[in-house]
């Protein structure tokens, strides 16, 4: 058997029991690699449970700076007997299996094509600690220590991280470092260190990684920071995985930044609503009244908000909604990722409605697009839905640092102030298309003693906000709303188009978290002589560029993480191109992020090229 060999390029997976403190130890492991300057992307694969079920943590180390899932596992750290059999079977041939050797290895789980590294974790803890909790907790720290020897992690960095983690609880530092050392010691004395796969600091990293002074952060925190920077003052929400940490992070930053030091009073308000209908109602009420307000939710919440989204569309009230998508339908797999709310979000609510969608692909975009969303929601007076997902929202991603231009000014949209109203000679018409862009002017309640008051409603009204059942007036209003949606095309984040090295009529189209594996697949294919232009969608409605791109290509692979090829359908629907045959669905919907290998393999299939890189056996072919 030949063991795997690779420097700075491998996948390691941790198999733990939920609620045993493994998350922080595993996080420290990933962060240490990040600190060494080596591209890393960790992913939590956790159950919908609080304690006791299997949970995994997959860490990809990628010399080339690929942050999407690669597919395949080179090393497994399995400390969960429940999942051991499955864990063993998942390892690539030549891979390494680190396990708790306190009990002898069950022979049924022995494979000849992998290396076993047994460490008596339980035994070591039993010997070392008397407290049951500590015995549990330090197991994780010990294996991280062992990995530092096996994989060549800079031990000083680990020590720093422990110090940072327990700042303020100094007396926990020593035992943690001790546990790390025990692990390191054990591995150094029992195994040939480092393994064939290991880390090496100071190696050449790809340009796009070098260029930036990278940070490691999750998309939900970034979106929350975006809301802070956009000046959101009201957040109303209802807890739901995987969106909960958006408002949690918003609150954390508001506590730091928005409490008046003199009075101790808050320049923000966060309300945990009784459900998602109510959360969206609050967001609409607050925006109507001139505060920037938002909510965050996931699929079931979007379904519940659909009546209110229709109201906001029709009554023309701004709103920002972060949809951190998970695997549907219904409750589905609440702790797995998907991009499957696209049609539900685009057409949320009965009647002729359409909503503006943003598709962030990185934490940096979660930040910047959230800032932008507040501007655009107010400019267009309509809801903006930011379509994030569990993978982006809850996992830590290497990202260029967040940037904010201090010269940038909020665009609060067309709002007439008291002074504007005072100066006005003509009659104020809330729904008059004064500028020909479909966007009318609004006023905040209380703006002026006797001008500008109007009646907001979800029913049909004329230009002066008076109720009407006159068909012509209704049509005029509906047509204006459509014109406004046209106007939106010039304002939404534009698609990113990247031509291939050589002219081609083939293309890849993707968005959000399909971007990372897509770019990786692209480079792989390019090396094989398969050239594809790319378009990364960043928003809906689609701009002319998107239409032109589809027009210009013969075959466009649309990569998305849902069963029904929802983005492909939205493209068919909302562009004026004959694209049925040319838009080819590449879908992955098992709840885990699509891998670069999968994308590459499907495209090779279409190109009639044999698989030139070995595929992991369990990879399914696309139907």
């Amino acid at each position: 058997m030949e063991s795997k060999h690779s420097i700075n390029d491998f996948v390691i997976k941790f198999a733990n029991v939920n609620g045993t403190g493994s998350a922080s130890a595993n996080g420290m492991f990933a962060k240490a690699i990040f600190r060494m300057g080596i591209p890393v992307s960790p992913r939590n694969i956790f159950p919908s449970n609080i304690q006791g079920l299997p949970t995994w943590y997959e860490v990809r180390v990628s010399r080339d700076g690929y942050l999407g899932r690669r597919g395949g596992i080179d090393m497994m750290v399995s400390v969960n007997p429940q999942s051991f059999a499955k864990d063993v079977s998942e390892l690539d041939p030549g891979g390494y299996m680190l396990y708790d050797s306190t009990k002898p290895l069950d022979l049924r789980h022995v494979r000849r094509d992998i290396s076993y590294l047994g460490i008596p974790l339980t035994e070591m803890c039993l010997r070392e600690y008397s407290d049951a909790r500590q015995r549990q907790l330090f197991k994780n720290v010990i294996y991280v220590g062992a990995l530092s020897a096996l994989l060549n992690i800079d031990f000083a960095i680990l020590k720093d991280l422990v110090g940072e983690q327990f700042k303020g609880k100094e007396k926990l530092i020593t035992p943690n470092i001790h546990a790390l050392e025990m692990g390191h010691q054990y591995a150094s004395t029992h195994f040939d260190c480092p393994l064939g796969i290991h880390l090496k600091a100071g190696e050449q990293t790809p340009k796009h990684i070098q260029e930036f002074d990278q940070i490691l952060m999750d998309g939900n925190t970034a979106a929350a920071l975006g809301a802070v920077y956009a000046g959101a003052t009201v957040a109303a929400w209802y807890p739901i995985t995987p969106s909960t940490s958006v408002v949690d992070a918003f609150e954390k930053y508001c506590r730091r930044l928005r409490i008046d030091p003199g009075t101790g009073k808050k320049n923000y308000a966060i309300v945990q609503a009784e459900d998602e209908l109510s959360a969206m109602g609050m967001v609409i009420g607050a925006n109507w009244n001139g505060a920037r307000a938002f909510t965050a939710t996931s699929g079931p919440g979007v379904s519940l908000m659909s009546e209110f989204l229709g109201l906001a569309y029709f009554a023309e009230v701004p709103a920002v909604l972060v949809d951190v998508q998970r695997a549907g339908p219904s409750t589905g797999m609440p702790t797995r990722t998907q991009q499957s709310d696209i049609l539900a979000a685009a057409y949320a609510s009965h009647g002729d409605t359409k909503h503006v969608l943003f598709f962030p692909a990185t934490p940096a975009e979660c930040f910047s697009m959230t800032v932008e969303a507040f501007d655009l929601a107010e400019r267009l007076q309509t809801p903006i839905i930011i379509m994030s997902d569990l993978d982006l929202g809850m996992n830590e991603w290497m990202s260029p640092p967040l940037e904010f231009d201090d010269n940038y000014q909020y665009d609060r949209g067309k709002v007439l102030s008291g002074a504007d109203l005072e100066a006005m000679t003509e009659r104020f018409g809330r729904y008059l298309d004064v500028d020909g862009d479909g966007i009318p002017y609004r006023t905040y309640p209380g703006a002026h003693p006797n001008k500008g008051a109007y009646f907001t409603r979800g029913s049909s009204r004329d230009e002066y906000a008076a109720y009407t059942e006159d068909g012509d007036v209704y049509v005029r209003n509906m047509d204006r709303l459509l014109k406004k949606f046209e106007t939106a095309k010039a304002l939404v984040p534009e698609a990113k188009i990247k031509p291939a090295a050589e002219p081609t009529k083939d293309a890849l189209l993707f968005f959000g978290t399909t971007a990372s594996p897509a770019y990786e697949a692209l480079e792989t294919l390019e090396k094989e002589g398969i050239h594809l232009d790319t378009l990364r969608l960043r928003s809906f409605p689609f701009t002319q560029e998107v239409e032109d791109f589809i027009e210009e290509h013969h075959r466009i692979f649309v990569i998305e993480q849902n069963r029904d090829g929802q983005m492909r359908r939205l493209l068919l629907n909302e562009t004026n191109v004959e694209a049925n045959a040319k838009l080819i669905s590449v879908v992955e919907y098992d709840g885990l992020p699509v891998t670069a290998r999968k994308i590459a393999s499907v495209i090779r299939g279409y190109m009639g090229v044999n698989n030139v890189t070995p595929l992991v056996p369990r990879e399914k072919e696309l139907a």
Binding site: D213, Q214, I215, L216, M217, L225, V228, Y229, A230, G231, T233, V234, A236, L257, R258, T263, K265, K266, N267, Y268, A269, I270, A273, E274, S278, M280, G281, M282, V283, I284, G285, A286, N287, W288, N289, G290, A291, A293, E307, F308, L311, P401, F404, D406, Y410, T443, Y444, P445, G446, A447, P449, N450, A453, Y454, F455, T456, R457, G458, S459, Y467
Partner: protein, 349 residues
């Protein structure tokens, strides 16, 4: 179709402390059925706002869907208004109030809008003690969809269609007292002498003020057996009139002191209660529930201010929001700028 305007009581000429005439508080032409109780309530709101010398533009009106929820179009046309979706006005009101704590929020709802589809939001807006006046125009039926029984319809009463309602009604004032409303009153649309001061008191109350106003639907629920019709209400009504004296007039009452109970409102104004049938501590929720139950057992509806919690914390107190309305904060006050972002980035390395 009726104007909510009994001009005889308030000659146009009379102006209040902010220089407004009663006409300044009126709204558009009502499209409700002639004689609908809801129009009387609109008229009472107009009177109350006029009497309180509220500047109309400092009021935000909110409602759900239903005949009752249409009424904000028929009073205070100088105020912004939000006619939202069925049963969900409380959340819209909550958001609006969070954005600007300085306006006066008047919500109008129906019994269908509140007690059926809106039950969840209704309970929770009370639990949060949102600073608003919430008026339920309670007619025991769904007027706008042509008279189906609502959840406040009395057991055994017969609807226009001839069906006997078999369910127990939900008593909104009891629910209000149970889940956290801090001002709970009941009145009757036809009893302006009681209703106007109650609305004034509700508006002056700091916190959630619930007014359950029985408001007959002349078209669908004005029939024998329904306590929500004019006829039956007049029989069963056990009135507990209130007289509200705004602070700035500082007039003491000339009523017999022995039967007047003074309640000090949060804005300093004094509410004087005259109890017709009994004395109980209206600041004790359990006593209020007992009294309501006692009267209900005798087939009477207790009206007036039934419960009040003074010095309660309204939602902004609870959330410790700044006194400056959130919607007035500008970018300079809200945006931390790039420097802070640098420190965030540093912490993520």
């Amino acid at each position: 179709m009726t104007y909510a305007k009994p001009a005889f009581r308030h000659p146009e000429a009379k102006t209040n402390d902010v220089g407004c005439t009663r006409r300044d508080y009126e709204g558009g032409l009502s499209t409700l059925c002639a004689g609908c109780g809801h129009d009387s309530i609109s008229a009472a709101i107009i009177d109350a706002c006029f009497d309180l010398s509220i500047e109309p533009h400092r009021v935000a009106k909110l409602s759900g869907i239903g005949c009752s929820s249409k009424t904000p179009a028929y009073f205070l046309s100088g105020s912004h208004s939000f006619n939202s979706v069925h049963g969900r006005m409380p959340s819209v009101a909550t958001g609006a109030n969070l954005a600007n704590r300085d306006l006066i929020y008047i919500g109008v709802s129906g019994d269908g809008d509140t007690a059926s589809i809106g039950m969840g939001q209704f309970a929770h807006v009370m639990r949060r003690n949102l600073n608003m006046t919430y008026i339920v125009e309670n007619n025991g039926c769904y007027g706008l969809t042509k008279g189906q029984d609502s959840a406040t319809m009395d057991t055994e009463s017969v609807s226009k269609k001839g069906d006997i309602n078999p369910y127990t009604p939900i008593d909104l004032v009891r629910v209000g007292i149970e889940v956290g409303a801090t001002f709970v009153g009941r009145s009757f649309s036809g009893d302006k002498a009681q209703l106007v001061p109650l609305i004034k008191a509700a508006i002056s109350h700091r916190g959630f003020a619930l007014l359950d106003v029985i408001s007959p639907c002349v078209t669908f629920n004005n029939h024998q057996g329904s306590t929500k019709s004019y006829a039956s209400f007049r029989e069963h009504n056990d009135a507990m009139p209130v007289d509200f004296i705004p602070r700035r007039e500082a007039i003491t009452t000339s009523y017999d002191a022995g039967i007047v109970h003074e309640v000090c409102m949060h804005d300093g104004s004094v509410l004087r209660l005259q109890k017709v049938n009994e004395e109980y501590d209206i600041e004790d929720p359990q006593s209020a529930l007992d009294a309501i139950a006692h009267h209900a057992k005798e087939d009477r509806i207790l009206t007036g201010l039934l419960y009040i919690k003074r010095d309660s914390e309204e939602l902004h107190d609870v959330l410790q929001t700044a006194s400056k309305p959130l919607n007035t904060l500008n970018q300079r006050e809200l945006c931390p700028g790039s420097r802070f972002l640098d420190s965030i980035n540093a912490g993520l390395r």
